[in-house]
Amino acid sequence: MNVATLGARDEALRAYLEGDEDGADDDLDLDELDLGEFADEWHREREAEFYAVGEAGQVGQVADDALEFLLSPCDLLAPYRVPVKVSEAIAYLESILDPVRILALFQHYFPVAFKNTQAKMVASSSNTYSDAEIEFFRLVDTHLFPLWDYILEWQLEEEIREMAIPVAPQAMEVWDRDMDDFRHGWHVLFILEGVKAVGDLPEDSPYLIWREELEAFSRVPGEPSPYYEGRVRLNETDASGPLAYLEDAVRMLHQGTGNVWLDVSSEEALESHGSVVWCREDVDALAEEWEEAARIKERAYRLIDWLEQDTAHQRLLIDLWQRGVEEAEEDDGSVPEKTAADLGYVQTVLPLVDVEQPGQVELETERVRVEA
């Protein structure tokens, strides 16, 4: 590249930085010119010139480092350019709005903490979160709903900021996890509901004493359990105690509570990442849903606490399911009292069943389809 061309390009660059395209050289079409590529080439040529001088004059490392700053005028001057196009203006306002929206939520949901915070409100770069934003995320996680540390840490490490809320799904995902991952109060219920087998029990499990009885409940995946068929019936005494929360526990383990926090798996949450963003409407909706999820969890864990208190309580559970099986064997094939829709977790338990009109399809019809 000769000196004349170099001068013309310098002029074009200056004109671009000043937002004066008319001042550019006529030979250069700025609309078609890739300024990024142009700047790189300009940078390489200056660097070559600099090293040519450097080799003769023994320029040291300090000057070498300074070169990075001296030879990137586009990057250095861009922040000082006033937006002159609507697209630039919208991009500039967007860059301001992202942190402002998050910090406005901080002020709205935690006014005292916001007033007292000493954390920096401006991030070190446009690709990361400020300390105040991170403080807000921690407060949300503690007081409103759980955030997914996995995504937040990844964003901080990779310097990626986004407006999507990294919700942390709370579904049990029993199928993908070991029995040991759950409190032992769940173990018998998992087997009775067919989501785990007796062989999955830990070697030191106290429930192995009922191996034979439990093996009777081994079923192929998707086959309805006595509970699903509405054949597990509680007497008045049972229904007034912790067993009253059996419904919540069974729905939780099948991810069929109807609550997004308890039903959506990690994989589904990742796929739908970005569907909720940092705005009041979404934060309110998630917080309200999480309150309901927490109530369901609390009820389910009251049952689990009770089951863990005494093996006799687990034995009672097995008896209830056995009575359901016996009833089914004696049954003449009439339709049970509860329909699939009454039980609410049709699609989770029986994914192959096509329920076109929930609430109107009776279990007998579905059973025929499953067998087919």
């Binding site: 937006p83 609507v86 919208i90 306002l93 402002v100 002020q107």
Partner: protein, 83 residues
């Protein structure tokens, strides 16, 4: 107001709400340094509205231009008197 020409006349680019506010904020930033975040938070709704309005005007103008570009020339007798 439905004519594409009327829309274009009513929304000259220099009167775009996003551009006006961006120019104002950037000028303040250059004159006095980074804008205080707490003040920007108070302006959050104003900035949001300006950006939304600015985007909408651009979309409206683009649509009007597309209509004009795809329009067929009309005979002079079809134009309103005095146009």
């Amino acid at each position: 107001m439905s004519s594409p020409l009327e829309i274009l006349r009513a929304h000259p680019a220099w009167y775009n709400a996003a551009l006006v506010l961006a120019w104002e904020l950037k000028s303040q930033e250059l004159a006095a340094g980074a804008l205080p975040m707490r003040r920007l938070i108070q302006l959050a709704d104003v900035i949001d509205d300006a950006q939304t309005e600015g985007k909408a005007l651009v979309a409206q103008t683009d649509a009007a231009l597309r209509v004009l570009k795809s329009a067929s020339p009309a005979p002079s007798s079809a134009l309103p008197i005095g146009f």
